[in-house]
């Protein structure tokens, strides 16, 4: 029987010496649950595990139900112990050089089950090291000592932060086998960088992002797991964003000219004025966020840029070197723009394959009306791989979930590497997990080079990393 631990973390914020903060964490660890804590680097995974072992200063909220005897294995805990050992040296007043605490003593300090300790020492191959000073060990050896010490202490809650890191395959397998024993009686929380390497006793996953628990997923919930896998793939995947079509490139733009220059624009109808006297310049490489309440004219302003608003012909608008209303066609403008919105998704009710949807981005069309060439098809396949959807290329677009559709439309918009990518409320109507997926993709795009991102959102606070400029309407 697993000890009936029930930990409740409620709107918890924790400060770590001013160096790092976790904030607003709500999380429930029930009996019979073993958790995996996952998330991108620097998100706060290790900090979260440390909090359960009592590290950090609680600035808000509460945490209850943590048992008295908690064992934590982590690099930080390891470093602390080594630090303490080194300090002992410094503090030594005797003129004798200290050998430091031997490994045997370090292990013994916490041991509850001596027989188990002996067995583990043997299994981890620590016997020859027992008399060595702890601080003299290599990192890998120290790590093994920490593991043995934690396991032999028979804790009521076991916290393992990257426990397999640096272990050879043999030791890894041995530890894993042992953990299968341990989890029968001890609730365990494991921090791992790679979700796909999680041991099969893990029942739940806490996805940590930007200092908080962003998502909790039960492993038996297959659809939620699929989304999580996709998110990980996007966040941590090493696949580079595909190149544009090498032959059929977009015409080059003048390097110093702004992408968009709107001067003193107004949009008026017979009986209503949407906005008046609006000027805006978007230079290449300047990512913008456009905010404003509903009805403030955000979409209207965007459609002046894309050419979808008929009044673009009566305003002073320069886009991609074209002064609008001088005999340019709308397709000459659209070729420079990638565009995604809820409206587009609504209009894109096309029963075609996922691959074709991406290819249609080369033609700025809804549906595909031109026979694509092999390069275009190959590029579309690469994009599907970025999204983790390569095996679904021939599925029908109409059958996709909301969130997957949105991802696909973003890939469609990006396929030609447009100088300007317009994302009009790209997260609208998406649940949390899908929002995260979309934002992860946007972050990858805005970090990756030649596309200037224009991100529209009616919440000023909903920011995307890397987008600094802001225009607020209304």
């Amino acid at each position: 029987m697993v000890a009936p631990v029930k930990i409740e973390v409620d709107q918890l914020s924790v400060d770590f010496d001013g160096r790092f903060q976790l904030h607003n964490i709500s999380w429930r660890l029930g009996p019979d649950e073993h958790w995996l804590v996952a998330g991108p680097n620097g998100a706060g995974k290790s900090a979260l595990a440390a909090v359960l072992s009592g590290v950090g200063e609680i600035t808000r909220g509460s945490i209850t139900g943590v048992p008295a005897r908690v064992a934590l294995v982590s690099y930080e805990a390891q470093a602390l112990l080594i630090d303490a050992e080194l300090k002992k040296d410094d503090a030594d007043i005797l003129d004798v050089i200290s050998e430091g605490t031997p490994v045997a003593e370090i292990i013994d300090q916490g041991t509850v089950d001596k027989a188990l300790a002996a067995e583990l020492i043997e299994q981890f191959g620590l016997t020859p090291l027992l008399t060595r000073a702890f601080r003299k060990l290599s990192t890998g050896e120290t790590r093994k000592v920490m593991l043995v010490r934690a396991l032999a202490s028979k804790p009521d809650l076991l916290l393992l932060d990257e426990p397999f890191d640096g272990l050879d395959t043999h030791t890894h397998a041995m530890l894993l086998q042992h953990l299968h024993e341990v989890v029968r009686t001890t609730p365990t929380v494991i921090v791992l960088n790679r979700i796909d390497e999680r041991p099969d006793f893990v029942t739940h996953i806490a996805w940590v992002e930007a200092g908080t628990v962003a998502q909790c997923v039960a492993c038996h919930d297959t659809s939620a797991m699929a989304l999580l896998d996709q998110l990980l793939h996007l966040k941590l995947g090493k696949i580079a964003l595909p190149d544009p079509d090498p032959i059929d490139r977009l015409p080059a733009l003048h390097a110093t000219e702004p992408l968009v220059q709107i001067t003193n624009a107004s949009v008026k109808y017979a009986d209503n004025v949407v906005f008046d006297g609006l000027s805006w310049t978007i230079n290449a490489g300047e990512h913008w966020q456009l905010t404003g309440p509903n009805g403030s004219g955000k979409t209207c302003l965007l459609s002046l840029i894309t050419g979808d608003h008929p009044q673009c012909y009566v305003n002073d608008i320069q886009v991609f070197g074209f002064q609008r209303g001088n005999g340019e066609s709308i397709w000459e403008i659209k070729q420079f723009i990638g565009y995604v919105s809820t409206q587009l998704q609504w209009e894109y009710r096309v029963g075609t394959s996922l691959r074709n949807v991406i290819v249609s981005g080369f033609y700025d069309s809804i549906g595909l009306y031109t026979k694509p060439n092999d390069t275009q098809l190959a590029i579309a396949n690469e994009w599907l791989a970025v999204l983790g959807m390569q095996h679904r290329a021939d599925e029908s677009f109409t059958q996709l979930s909301h969130g997957d559709k949105r991802l696909l439309l973003i890939a469609r918009a990006m396929v030609k590497h447009p100088p300007l990518l317009i994302l009009d409320e790209p997260c609208l109507g998406l649940d949390d997990m899908n929002r995260r997926l979309v934002l992860a993709l946007i972050e990858r795009i805005s970090a990756s080079g030649n596309t200037t991102v224009l991100y529209v959102n009616h919440h000023t606070e909903d920011k995307v990393i890397g987008i600094e400029r802001q225009l607020a309407l209304g």
Partner: protein
Amino acid sequence: MGTNYFNSLSLREQLEQLGECRFMHLDEFTDGVDALKGKKMVVIGCGAQGLNQGLNLRDSGLDVSYALREAAILEKRQSWKNATDNGFTVGTYEELIPTADIVLNLTPDKQHTAVVTAVMPMMKKGSCLSYSHGFNIVEEGMQVRDDITVIMVAPKCPGSEVRAEYVRGFGVPTLIAVHESNDPNGIGLTLAKAYAVGTGGHKAGVLMSSFVAEVKSDLMGEQTILCGMLQTGSLLCFDKMIEEGIDAGYAAKLIQYGWETVTEALKYGGVTNMMDRLSNPAKIRAFELAESMKDILRPLYHKHQDDIMTGHFSATMMADWANDDKELLGWRAETAETAFEKTAPGDVEISEQEYFDHGILMVAMVKAGVELAFETMTDAGIIADSAYYESLHETPLIANTIARKKLHEMNATISDTAEYGCYLYNHACVPLLADFMKPLKSDVIGKGLQLDDLGVDNARLIEVNAAIRYHPVEAIGSELRGYMADMKRIV
């Protein structure tokens, strides 16, 4: 008013022009809109076609402005709003027509004689006059100044579709023609092609035809299968369901959305696919109902085509124009008072398949109407391609309008000419089908066959399938849909 142009032709010329029709290939449009670049295009009228064609042409890089009649400007009518809200230059005939290189006459057909007569003296020497329907030239025999080139660019879709498809990066099938007695410089075809490109039509397929063939087939299609049959079908099916004790809300919904749903299947795979959506016993039943209806209605279809060919139809309608549209307005009011129009669709869930299963009679009506219209047109010398577009192809587009707001919406969207013809057909068709309708029960409309055993006789099924599949509308249909699929038209 001039004399009927078609009737002034010799039989040889009539047959030649009726038979003029060729599907153009995409590579015939490589010059794009070049022939119209920098030219001043002035549209008269800013309604369904005027506004939407103008938006497309402007987005294709062309110079478009609107000449409206003075009253429309002064009273800021809808047409004025359409043009100004969309950022177009609007002016009077006097201001704009003399500057025009091409005048696009997109006013209602009924107004064409008055409008063309008014603007012709103001038009530049050597300019071009274009239409989207040939009624004025063919039926009214409008005589246009010799130096003016007269062309037609007729999208085979309502104006809203013309725009929607362009925005998606596609277009709608379009018919182009040059009026042979008005092509003084031989540039008519070049201009018509550039215009078709400007509206996006070239992507969906262009038929090069004649004014005569366009008018005679367009009138036939819209009066019979497209609008007439759907109107008659709606009224008869609704009344039958009420008589059979089916909930009125359900009946109204089954019809309002049923046409759209069953004809959607036509788009993908013609009559064959629509029939294949039924179970085997239901298919055989629908086939038999359609055969009976075809026998009953064949004389009516012939009469419509004959009246269109002789000019009797247009003369009758023009007489009504002269009589302040008495008939048209009367029929319109009558339609508004029908039980179907006045019953709101019920708040019931009807699945896509149920529209077929419970709408066997509707499917049969579509099949009968499409085939009869196609047969009658081709018998009259109209080329199959053209007959296909004017019958099967447009049926789902019109059905969509009924889904929006019933017959009212359909009759408001289509031209006055189509509306007049539709009522005319309906008046003759309802009594013709009375005896046929009498014994029918809710198994063919409203409830479905509800069979436990879906077994059918093999030989009979093969016979029925063959009859459906080998109908000539299916052959040309799969060929033309194939062209579209070539262009990866994905509906």
